[in-house]
Symmetry: C2
């Protein structure tokens, strides 16, 4: 399946340079609920270090959430955030969890840049099993360092007939 | 007319914290053309100075463009940008015109923050005459100063049945 064949709501989520939470709220006309699946501080392995531009062994907040609206899950989002680059108050909000990233950045009035590095259609994924998904990866830059690496996965099915 | 009664594409444009050009390209599945209506450098009057947080008399780039896709006009956007806060290379691109703001910011890898200050439905507007429009105003912050004030106006009619 090519990206241009996806339903419009999914193409919007795939390509936006803004907040996916906002898009989902506008598309579904319902509030989005962020449900944390897990959240831990880990030491960066070499793969994480490469993704984040840090040294191995540095502390990284690893979080996974699902985004739900009206009881339906629209996305699974996992993120890696190096703690050393993060303003302390942002760190607190991120660890309190259940707050969408876009809202955290806005609340703290951070000036950032989003850089989408990969958009692809996959046949399987950890969260949605053998259902095809749209997967995208992007990084949020703050003061020229990577504040966060994010992978969002959207199931491709009839739930997008909004 | 209330905001929640608007067609979904218009609600998306009204509320996005990302680029409207990108949204229009995804919604119409066509490239967006930016057509400059006028572009001048002027001295700030007191109204401009208030909007931009600068002194009267300072230089401001005043630009108006329409955003078209597939021959149809989807938005009229006017902007005010104080020149003193602007990196010189960004200024060049802005004056060369016909480049969407979102693309200019991305090309120069600027870290910014968007702050939507007003969203309203109006019965008339300068560009679309007596057609009802959705109008929104927002400011783009860069290094804690206002880089740009933008007013986007979208006609409310059947062109959004996409």
């Amino acid at each position: 399946m090519e990206l241009e064949d996806l339903p419009t709501p999914l193409r919007l989520c795939a390509g936006t340079d803004g907040s996916v939470t906002f898009l989902l709220e506008a598309l579904t006309r319902k509030p989005v609920e962020v449900v944390t699946q897990h959240q831990d501080v880990v030491k960066a392995d070499s793969k994480m270090a490469g993704l984040l531009g840090i040294e191995t062994g540095q502390e990284v907040n690893q979080r996974a959430v699902i985004l739900k609206a009206g009881g339906i899950t629209y996305a699974y989002a996992s993120s890696l955030a190096p703690l050393q680059h993060m303003p302390p108050k942002v760190r607190e909000d991120l660890m309190r969890a259940d707050i969408p990233i876009g809202k955290i950045l806005r609340n703290h009035r951070l000036e950032t840049r989003r850089d989408v590095s990969k958009i692809e259609v996959l046949g399987t994924s950890d969260y949605f099993g053998s259902k095809p998904v749209l997967s995208r990866e992007y990084r949020i830059f703050f003061k020229d360092k990577i504040l966060m690496w994010i992978n969002e996965v959207f199931p491709i099915d009839e739930r997008w007939n909004l």
